[in-house]
Subunit: 350 residues, 4 copies
């Protein structure tokens, strides 16, 4: 059993990490921290886990790097950006492997980080060391990483469907549009009026446009895949579901096509996705008339992908669905942990 | 008091028409039809109106054109496409004015109708006579119409934001994308598994792509505004709210702009919208940081519009919100009735 | 036009008052206060009213009794308990009529107030002067009141169904149970974790048992109706809807009955309710198989009541549904205003 | 690996059984039937399981007892009442063990069955053979059963909290009231207007009163526990959540108590529950201020129980929460299977 700890376990991602790690067959959750809940057991704060023996005995503590490094080999950071880096530095020095769910180590360029997050990067020297924790893309690097920057929920839902198409040159890198819908847990467990039940129920609204923070990591990874600078249009919306992201991606195939050319292009796209994800345990390529639906991925580490060619407009529309707290956050982090530790990649995730 | 009737009053649009017409200061609802509910009072079928005296006495009847023509001067058709035309023909012959909420008379070209609705148009001779009932665009024609084809919910949410920009030549007619989200009442009151609470709650999913029926009227009206054939990309999604449509529109300004040119272009767009809608009682142009939110238009005949220029991508993103059953259906039909009858346009709609 | 003002207009009840008073044919909203929003227009804070001309010009101000007394003849208090009394005292001295939506003047006994609200009553000298603003019960006193204590949402849903039965001696005053379900707006517009979308959606939970504050006014009024001290069991639950209260009341008929006696007793109960509410514009006595449903009263000032006799248990089960923000708060306050001003009781409420 | 099959796997309980059995470490799902979906794979019909290898190969078949008896040792029936018995008879004759999720074998008295279900019992000779599958009560009988009648969702939520109190004589058998709230999945996957999203969202309503079918098994089991005939008041309500039941139970302690006697009685009740459920893996006795909440049991086989003594009324109020599809249906059935097969009782349920 690998000993693992979570710093900042009181938010929705932290809670989901607790759920996954309590049930993980090869990991032992030895420490969880929360300034607010220090001294209370996991079962007291999260009644839904109260029947688990470990949740009855494990108590939240103040976050102290030295103690955590003694308690665990792998430490998950479920903290706000800026704060996460403060813990990553000492934990790495103390020999822990760190899986960070914040944005702190996702963007490789400290200047871009500052542009999007409005403060200097707290530990720029670690940026090159960190690995972007998208297993379907960076599996081999994750295997040997000391610091994993686990991707955000929106980036996962956008990158996984687009990158294979860019890499194989099937679509143009310019003009990409990502229209995305997120459940309210994506806003975090924060006592703010905007996220009250009454303000979200029977409501749907765009927000954070046109320059959402997640653009920094999305465009970084798309640019790497395309081999050139990629700038995209990204419009997030808040919808009244607890969990889930649905992304609709508008793409332009490199090869112009009309009704007669649809089939040929469709085969290429299908082949591209099969090649990229045909054997991936957590990517579900939908077939026939099926389209992604967040309810079909709720609570799972799966991302659903479907696509349609539209001969009327010459566009390729790709759609994806994931659980923002699992494949979009904590499940993906556990998937990286499995790779890091040499466990079966699906351990604790099926 | 103008005598009015509704054929097919048992669906969600029909019910909303009943609500609006019962409360209308200058209209008297004299007949409602429903094969299923014939013989029962409006108050029995719609308990929420049961305290209204008219709802206690008015009974649903079988739909018979002769009787309706005696009972009312204006007849609303809240029927499925194909069926609506069957009633429009005799009602017009009997001298009624007809406001049709179905798609039957929206598309001017019977061939396009057949392409999108998969059957021959049932009364092609009426197509030229009918007026597309979007008051902000066709107010003067509505005034003298005998047959008004009231627009669908998606078309309203897309046409009102885009048409002024096309007419003034601020955006390119090519490459338009409309990504739209609808509440479940948009699917109608139909006993189908897909629209059960459990299938829709905690779910969001695209559907009907890439060639939704509403494209026919959307493209017809955009083409008229642009003065050339317009083909758009349209992706509807179903989200778990009762009422509301949120449309996010991706547009390309004719004039290329970067960060330095944003302000100048912004003034033009602002001026264009002010000119088009500054005095419209049911169009709310949002200012400052405000963005559309379906909860702010629920139960009202208002459409909210906001827009952002993105100097990173060179695009204009326009967003709109409306209540699909009011401005997207029954409220708009009543607005047309007000114009037709010379009532204040806001009568019964504030 | 009667000039009216609202102190504390930024919560959900305040917002609903704004909605009703903006649309009221005989009232003119001349002042609204909110410390938080002072200086901004009603349309800026509540976009859903932004198309109303008054909402575009009327600005929130700091709450100052002198200014309000100059601006309005009638002042609504939509404030927390304890705070409301502080404003009622000077406003009454300045000659205003006050309609208080808080609990401050509902309980006649200052000792009971202290027992349930845990602080001394701030203005006990006004308790006898105030009238409990339940129009169906206290219409004649409301007509001449200077200070109206408008009832809470739970009390309205419980008192209206029970009081006629107690007054006519059809049920026993002992052993009454009220099991009630409320929408989340009942918790107010407060930035607290418990009322976040994610914490309320897919959740139902009891709270505040066994001694909820509303018991004080419920038991006061039931005791007055029964002519003896009444103590009831009251269990509120929070359910994921925006608006609405559903109360299920378990009552014991004085006369024992079995299957053979059901019809006779049923006629008495039916007669009792017809006598009490047959002509009330806002009480809907359901017939046949109909049962109350919050969606049928949403946005209206109506309370629905239905009942069933159970010969198996010898009990009478009465159910009611209301919109907690309308008949349970602001609509009822406007109903009282209508009575106070000699307007038609339904003015602005249909 | 024990071979198991499900007849009627296309409803919500059937789907939940599929979920649990696909993931069960000691069971192999060898057959699933559905007339409607015969020929299609489990993954095609339930996309959420599509990544599971078994779901990709296992196809729905027509329900034929002979084939099922060859394919499986244990057969789950997830069928409507009346239909279930028709399959139980031949399956038992062919040597299968049967776990029936319908009501067909829960009520021991065929006359009571007829009274509540309005048709003759289809296989009365099996009634004595069947075991009521509530593991916390009938664990030893389940161990050797051939036919297990797995309890309904409401009965589980009511019986588990009440029976220990009745058995120890702490409460009176007379006058029990059960007020219960259910999520919409409790209505089954049926294409009926009443369960459309729009009809359930923003709605709460009682239904099926005063004589709901589940009363037959509830009163049977309460009577057995009390040693005398028990008749209860039961009021179910439909609320807009997918899953979950919240029951609020009004009980009368045998010993009269007031404020001074609360503590003594509380200790007895606490002791009673500890004795009954202190070691049960799926009963969570809440402590301190905690109250049941359906979101804390969603997707789990746990029932939460809390209680309060009210010295004002002399009553004991007990509240429980469970997932209607898990502890209220399929999870409980798997728990019985575990007992039957000698597996750890929590296998596949944690």
């Amino acid at each position: 059993m690998k000993k693992v700890a979570i710093i900042g376990a009181s938010g929705y991602s932290g809670e989901e990490l607790v759920r996954l790690l309590l049930a993980h067959p090869q990991a032992e959750l030895t420490a969880v921290t929360s300034r607010q809940y220090a001294g209370q057991t996991v079962g007291q704060i999260f009644p839904k886990f109260a029947n688990h023996p470990r949740a009855q005995s494990l108590r939240f503590t103040e976050p102290k790097a030295e103690l955590l490094a003694k308690a665990a080999e792998i430490v998950f950071l479920a903290l706000p950006h800026g704060v996460a880096a403060e813990f990553a530095v000492p934990l790495l020095q103390l020999g822990c492997q760190v899986i960070d769910l914040s944005a702190d180590f996702r963007v490789k360029d400290a200047a871009v980080y500052k542009e999007f997050y409005a403060h200097d990067h707290p530990a720029p020297e670690l940026l090159l060391q960190s690995v972007y924790g998208l297993p379907e893309l960076y599996r081999s690097q994750i295997k040997n990483a000391s610091l994993i920057a686990s991707p955000g929920c929106y980036p996962t839902s956008i990158l996984l469907p687009i990158i294979p198409l860019l890499k194989t040159g099937l679509i143009k890198p310019a003009g990409i549009i990502a229209d995305a819908l997120t459940g309210v847990s994506g806003a975090g467990r924060k006592a703010e009026l905007d996220y009250l039940f009454v303000e979200c129920n029977e409501s749907v609204r765009p927000y954070g446009i046109p320059k959402h923070r997640h653009l920094s990591e999305i465009e970084q990874e798309l640019s790497l895949a395309a081999g050139e600078a990629v700038t995209i249009q990204f419009t997030p919306h808040l919808i009244p579901i607890n969990r889930g992201i649905l992304a609709t991606l508008y793409l332009a195939p490199v090869k112009h096509f009309d009704a007669s050319g649809v089939e040929e292009l469709a085969q290429k796209i299908s082949g591209c996705y099969q090649q990229a994800y045909g054997k991936e345990p957590f990517v579900r390529l939908l077939e026939g008339k099926a389209l992604p639906d967040t309810k079909n991925v709720e609570g799972t580490n799966v991302i659903e992908i479907a696509w349609r060619l539209d001969p009327r407009t010459g566009r390729l529309v790709v759609m994806s669905a994931e659980d923002n707290l699992v494949k979009g956050a904590s499940g993906q982090a556990v998937q990286s942990m499995n790779i890091l530790c040499g466990f079966p990649e699906t351990a604790g995730l099926l």
